[in-house]
Symmetry: C2
Subunit: 383 residues, 2 copies
């Protein structure tokens, strides 16, 4: 029996790698829908290969271009609710959400509410709207499968572990390209330098987030929701080789880790085929070839984004929403050359300081906090 799958963000880094995985096991999946932002060229190629029933483009202009190709039997969606419409289709069993940013929140919720399992690569969904999403998961009794390599690692380590036995989550971080840079050097970091990640091949936003350690901060918040662990039981360890993808400490002190080469196709495949494991084209790990694994404490002095994420999570409510919204705008402004690298945490901290939060937010509160965080930051950037 093949699973009907929708991929949100199909032309991005995770989306294309997910299609690699699906290509290698054609009998397991029917690609029902593909959603992209504006890359109509690549989306068209994907449509020709995987023959989905529906495709969506966030850009209306791009959607018009696709329409002009007159692809047979293809429903083309666009507009603000296009992804939600797509995931709610009856022939969908599983939704891979690989959209970047808070734009992933509403499609994730729509999928959950329609009773679909969700493979979540969009960590901002949980960062910004963790309580609402987790309540919906519970209510609709669907699977929320992590795709992030760290959360997939934790999820894998927890197979066969009793709920009460999880004592601590230990997230590893490569440390990014500036792990050894001084504070002064960080002030002068260029966009090109920040986009050169040492171990993972990823999209632009997550690469910048890795360089600031905000990515790890967002992952701390994501882990809190996925595994129901309080922030003081989530530890971040810098591990430059990116071989140990994360670890859990159990109640007896035993530590279970998941390791592998840095290849996103592995966690993507596990999320798509869970609970089964299938052969993978990814390279096998040789510890002897790797030779050495290093671990060190993160420096929140030089990388304040990590501290800000812990602080936002500790307060809770809409504070992580604002953290995430402000970060999205700040990263974009940095990539456009409008602010410096160390302005990113500075502006986010300012957004958090001015926020008057709601502690038990509903979806409206979250969307409002997200808007507010963005607007505040856009003003700061423009001033």
């Amino acid at each position: 029996m093949s699973l009907g799958i929708v991929i949100l963000g199909s032309t991005g880094s995770i989306g294309t790698q997910a299609l690699d995985v699906i290509r290698s096991m054609p009998e397991r999946f029917r690609v029902v829908g593909l959603a992209a932002g504006s890359n109509v060229g690549l989306l068209e190629k994907q449509i020709e290969e995987f023959r989905p029933k529906a495709a969506s483009l966030a850009s209306i202009e791009a959607a018009h271009k696709l329409q002009e190709r007159n692809l047979p039997g293809l429903e083309i969606l666009t507009g603000p609710n296009a992804m939600e419409e797509m995931v709610e289709r009856e022939d969908v069993d599983l939704v891979l959400n690989a959209v970047v940013g808070a734009a992933g929140i509403l499609p994730t919720l729509a999928a959950i509410r329609a009773g679909k399992d969700v493979a979540l690569a969009n960590k901002e969904t949980l960062v910004a709207a963790g309580n609402v999403v987790m309540e919906a998961v519970k209510e609709h009794n669907v699977r929320l499968l992590p795709v992030d390599s760290e959360h997939s690692a934790i999820f894998q380590c927890l197979q066969g572990v009793g709920d009460r036995d999880l004592h601590k989550v230990i997230l590893t971080a490569s440390g990014g390209p500036f792990r050894e840079s001084t504070k002064e050097e960080l002030e002068r970091v260029t966009v090109g330098e920040a986009l050169a990640h040492p171990t993972w091949n990823m999209g632009g936003k997550i690469t910048i987030d890795s360089a600031t350690l905000m990515n790890k901060g967002l992952e701390v918040i994501e882990a809190h929701w996925l595994f129901q662990v309080p922030p003081e039981r989530i530890e971040v360890v810098i591990h430059p080789q990116s071989i140990v993808h994360s670890l859990v400490e159990l109640s007896d002190g035993s530590v279970i880790a998941q390791l592998g080469v840095a290849d996103m196709r592995l966690p993507i495949q596990y999320a798509l085929t869970y609970p089964e494991r299938l052969n993978s084209p990814a390279e096998r790990l040789s510890l002897i070839e790797v030779g050495r694994l290093d671990f060190e404490a993160p420096d929140v002095e030089r990388f304040p984004c990590l501290r800000l994420a812990y602080e936002a999570l500790a307060v809770g409510g809409t504070f992580p929403t604002v953290l995430n919204a402000a970060n999205e705008v700040a990263v974009q402004a940095f990539m456009q050359g409008r602010i410096g690298f160390t302005d990113i945490p500075r502006l986010i901290e300012s957004a958090l300081e001015q926020h008057r939060g709601v502690i038990k937010p509903d979806l409206e509160d979250i969307l409002e906090a997200d808007r507010e965080g963005r607007e505040y930051l856009i003003k700061l950037v423009n001033s």
Copy 2:
């Protein structure tokens, strides 16, 4: 409900640490029987504290001494079948076999055949009699729980993993005190040097086995039987810090590892409380404090015992039995100063070369091969 437990080898390193574990959870266990070799002083103290119904001593002289103490309500057993009698008692639920050497085979089999779960610290049982033991486990539907830190690690990593998903077992080895010694230096190793293990606090025989890497060879054979993996899918990796206790590679290439401080109370406790995990007095692991984990290939040129174990396992049948028997005699002769360190593999290889083996041995064949291996080696040592 408390479990009735028998500890075979209660005055040894594993036995005393098991009693430490049991002391910390008195409501979980009734100590029904304790068996020791000749250490009547320590055994008496253990009897006074844990009040078993039965005690046994391998040494008849020591058993007489214990008899003279007139301990109330204590049945004292001795003679060749004492341990077997003890494990068959009706009030026994679990047998911890921490006897050293092939002497552990018959009590293990007696426990299994009496329907008792066995926590196995006596790896020689599986090395010498793997096929017979595993058949009995299957037939009598009991649990065989590994206590060795490496096999406990693998067993922990495999919780929640499907049978078909185990692709490879990766056993770590500290490398022993002579990891960096040259061949010439190995020729001159003294007993004192060989007994100084860098990371684990263990008994004499296993410490020498660690120094020759025969311990890892025996563990390869043990892993073969416990986890039903062919030798070509069992890898040994030298890992001097002894933090990663072992790993498994799954069918998709994902690698799961178990880590922790080097404290035998952890794997002992897991075997005794399985599938539950309880709090432990063992120190918690801090990867940041450890800082660095190294891995390298073992050198079978300098440590031929590992090669001999793989070869014996590849041929199978009674060859591992002879390997183990010859090793026991050789280690004893080395500890008595009668042979040199590098004579150990030399003599074992000679014993394997002269052996005419049985490929599907029954218990009689195994006991005969064990005797033959010992006698042959004693002759070699004396010549």
